[in-house]
């Protein structure tokens, strides 16, 4: 993920609209990716994951798209709800590595 220091990228959407949160990764050897949601004062919560042999995976109201050519990952949230307001992180892991590397996150705000 891209480092943006203290200033998180922000996304504001109207309740009921779809949200798209983007993440760029740098390691071409990364073969596993996860999206986490972190609400204020809480730890990150797993949302959805995808392996590099796939380009799309769907969950309940969420879809993750992976474009390995440009090393880009996106999270789509359908019919965004107020409870979706949080910071969203992408994380990657290279096949040979044991650890996850987290991006800097995007602050999603859902407007009533």
């Amino acid at each position: 993920g891209e480092s943006v220091g203290l200033h998180l990228p922000t996304l504001s959407v109207q309740e009921g609209d779809n949200s798209i949160i983007n993440c760029a990764y740098s390691n071409s050897a990364s073969d596993y990716f996860i999206w986490y949601k972190q609400e204020s004062g809480k730890g990150p919560q797993f949302i959805i994951d995808i392996r590099s042999n796939m380009d799309k995976r769907q969950g309940q109201r969420v879809t993750v798209l992976l474009n390995k050519t440009v090393k880009h990952l996106s999270l789509q949230i359908a019919a965004t709800q107020p409870g979706d307001s949080a910071v969203y992180f992408c994380a990657e892991r290279a096949g040979s590595a044991r650890q996850l590397t987290f991006g800097s996150g995007t602050q999603l705000t859902v407007l009533p």
Partner: protein
């Protein structure tokens, strides 16, 4: 199923003091992780345990940070002495040995060093 427990939730100390954080992972999770999350950034792995052994501590500042998991269950992370730049949220996570990709995070301990 109980989640990952951490204490304290908040801690304020002065620089050069010592501080310790405690983590109780989900029952049966052999793998335990400590992350540091500086404001506005994603979590950064400090150390990973498998049972009571260290798997990865390459990003742990060993001159001031230490961690242990003596009985392969609870873990403590210590900072001695603390610096201003240690102000962060310290997250503990755990996972099953057979599925280390799915990590469950605790609520974190928010540390402020003055």
């Amino acid at each position: 199923e109980a989640g990952v427990a951490q204490s304290p939730r908040y801690k304020i100390i002065e620089k050069r003091q010592s501080v310790a954080f405690w983590c109780n992972p989900i029952s049966g999770h052999a793998t335990l992780y400590w992350y540091q999350q500086i404001l506005g950034q994603g979590p950064k792995l400090l150390i990973q345990f498998q049972n009571n052994g260290v798997v990865d501590d390459s990003q742990l500042p060993k001159d001031r940070f230490s961690a242990e998991r003596l009985k392969g269950v609870d873990s403590t992370l210590k900072i001695q002495p603390a610096k201003l730049e240690d102000s962060a949220v310290y997250l503990c996570a755990s996972s099953l040995l057979r599925n280390q990709e799915t990590q469950y995070f605790g609520p974190g301990t928010r540390l402020l060093v003055l």
